[in-house]
Symmetry: C2
Subunit: 342 residues, 2 copies
């Protein structure tokens, strides 16, 4: 599949999803709530999860049109998590715009999230067919997993002894679960056999893991302009990324001391950022030191291998599916996500 | 039906619901989240909505055991709304215990609410039978209505010109919708005919309205000890109750000026409460004045009539059901709620 064919098909699915999302009309009788929800849904994004629902449906022989409601449901559920996570992280911006709680208020964002959750189920239940119990069960499990992952993430923030194993467990819930929800729902709607549904779920879980580690890598390797956030931001915030936790296992002496300062989130006290979030010269020095440290302990190389290996594990699941254009699209999408630079 | 029989049967259903709720195990892998959710579910309460689900099921000929999952679902959904509403209202206590966001944090309460929502769907989907799409649709509509009602309530807080009609619209969503969700779900699970399902939904809506106006009345008429909150608290907070809005329509001169001060929430500036929420002598004077004003303009009498009339409207819906013990229980429960003193 050529890059151009991939891009064209991806955009076509993304546009279809956007049109389906335009039909979502939450809280018709409450102006502010309705505006908050529409603000979120109109905020764009790559709609990766929706595209995964539709391609998974097609890859087991289903029609894309049957999967549109489920695709919208997963995308709305994803947006619900962003709205509530942004409250919890006290984030100011998302996709280049103020977050909902900044633009309105925490209360409005809380309610917009809750409403989006209702809208996700509403969209899912519009799916034709008779698998609603199963579909709603998968969406619900996705919701419960995401909440559990987010809660573990909050617990981890207060700890300095998180292991790489715990990291994978947490991100598997926080990031992987929703991607697996997408591929599983698509496979069910498409009428996939149990073994194909299971294969597509595993594909989603492995893809989610590759996606997350690549995300961690991009924090220090990405292009600041494209990525829209500070290079090294995770380091200054003491975020427990794959890189930091793997380095913590290996580092000794002065290296170890620096990592512990980061794990204890001493950046603020040590003036690594100004009040409005700009990186100070001492912050830049820490990022440079950590980048060098990551390279020296082989952590960057190691992370690259994890991305490569889990992407391959994901791909191998696709071998259980018939040869179709949709399967090639899933393969190309996995490649794209593993090698993305923003 | 004797009061004793009613009480015995009610307690039996409540205990069954509590046992079903004990089986709910949210967030098994995240300790703090799991504890937060269990704290909410173990907090007791009258379980009115769960009892309504089960009685509605029985009143159309279904077995109580088939409605237990739906009863748990509605009760969990109700508890989700309490956790998130308490965040929005910045409430310190609920059922005599600290609220979740006080005991843990706002982030923990936010996530506990989201998780409970997932647990509600999970419980509902355990219902035997084949009506899951319809059941999940009714639960989802209940969720969306409650969010819309809560958002309107927040909008009303910033306005001084809310009409009684708008009040009924808002509380119909915020309070009535979930009670109607309970009776409708019970009727569906019980295999009720479309006209009986519709009758039980209307029963729930009218009951919800009576319940809300009685709640407003109890703020100034209730026994402070039993009710567990300050008598006249709604007045000092400028809450747009039926009483205040009806009085605002009728009052003139000095009476009107006092009501406008309350509608503009000037209580804090005028020192009606101390910093820790105790009522000051000037606050007590305002409550006494308002009580007299409500009586003089016939607002108390009027509210009593609304409770009476809407309870009767609710009861009349029961005439569409066969004569059963469950129907008599619903009638007795409606009586009980309309005349409750706490």
């Amino acid at each position: 599949m050529t890059q151009e064919n991939f891009r064209r098909r991806y955009e076509s699915i993304r546009r279809r999803t956007d049109r389906r999302l335009e039909r979502v009309r939450p809280a018709p009788g409450a102006r502010r709530l309705r505006e908050g929800c529409r603000y979120v849904l109109d905020g764009g994004g790559k709609r990766v999860r929706a595209v995964l629902v539709i391609l998974s449906c097609e890859s087991v022989g289903g029609k894309a049109s049957r999967a549109l409601d489920a695709a919208a449901a997963v995308e709305i559920l994803h947006n619900f998590t962003l709205v509530h996570d942004d409250i919890m992280d006290n984030a100011d911006a998302r996709r280049g715009r103020p977050t909902v709680h900044r633009k309105w208020s925490v209360n409005d964002a809380l309610l917009a999230g809750d409403t989006l959750l209702g809208a996700a189920y509403e969209a899912l239940l519009e799916t034709t067919g008779s698998a609603h119990r199963r579909l709603a069960g998968v969406l619900t499990q996705g919701l419960l997993d995401v909440c559990e992952g987010q809660s573990l993430d909050l617990e981890f923030e207060e700890r300095t002894d998180v292991s790489v194993k715990e990291y994978f467990h947490m991100t598997g819930k926080k990031t992987g679960a929703l991607i697996a929800t997408a591929t599983e729902l698509g496979a069910i709607v498409g009428g996939g056999t149990p073994s194909r549904v299971a294969a597509l779920r595993r594909f989603g879980l492995r893809l989610g893991r590759a996606f997350q580690v690549q995300d961690d890598l991009l924090d220090i390797a990405g292009d600041a302009h494209d990525f829209g956030k500070t290079i090294g931001g995770d380091i200054l915030e003491g975020k427990k990324t794959y890189l930091l936790l793997r380095a913590a296992e290996r580092a000794e002496g002065e290296d170890r001391k620096l990592i512990e300062r980061i794990l204890r989130k001493e950046g603020q006290a040590l003036g690594w950022k100004t009040g409005d979030g700009a990186v100070t010269p001492s912050g830049s020095a820490v990022i440079a030191q950590m980048k060098e440290l990551y390279a020296r302990y082989g952590v960057l190389e190691d992370a690259g291998k994890v991305v490569e290996r889990t992407t391959n594990e994901a791909m191998s699941q696709l071998g259980r599916l018939p040869r179709t254009a949709a399967r090639e699209m899933l393969r190309a999408l996995a490649e794209e996500l593993a090698h993305r630079e923003s």
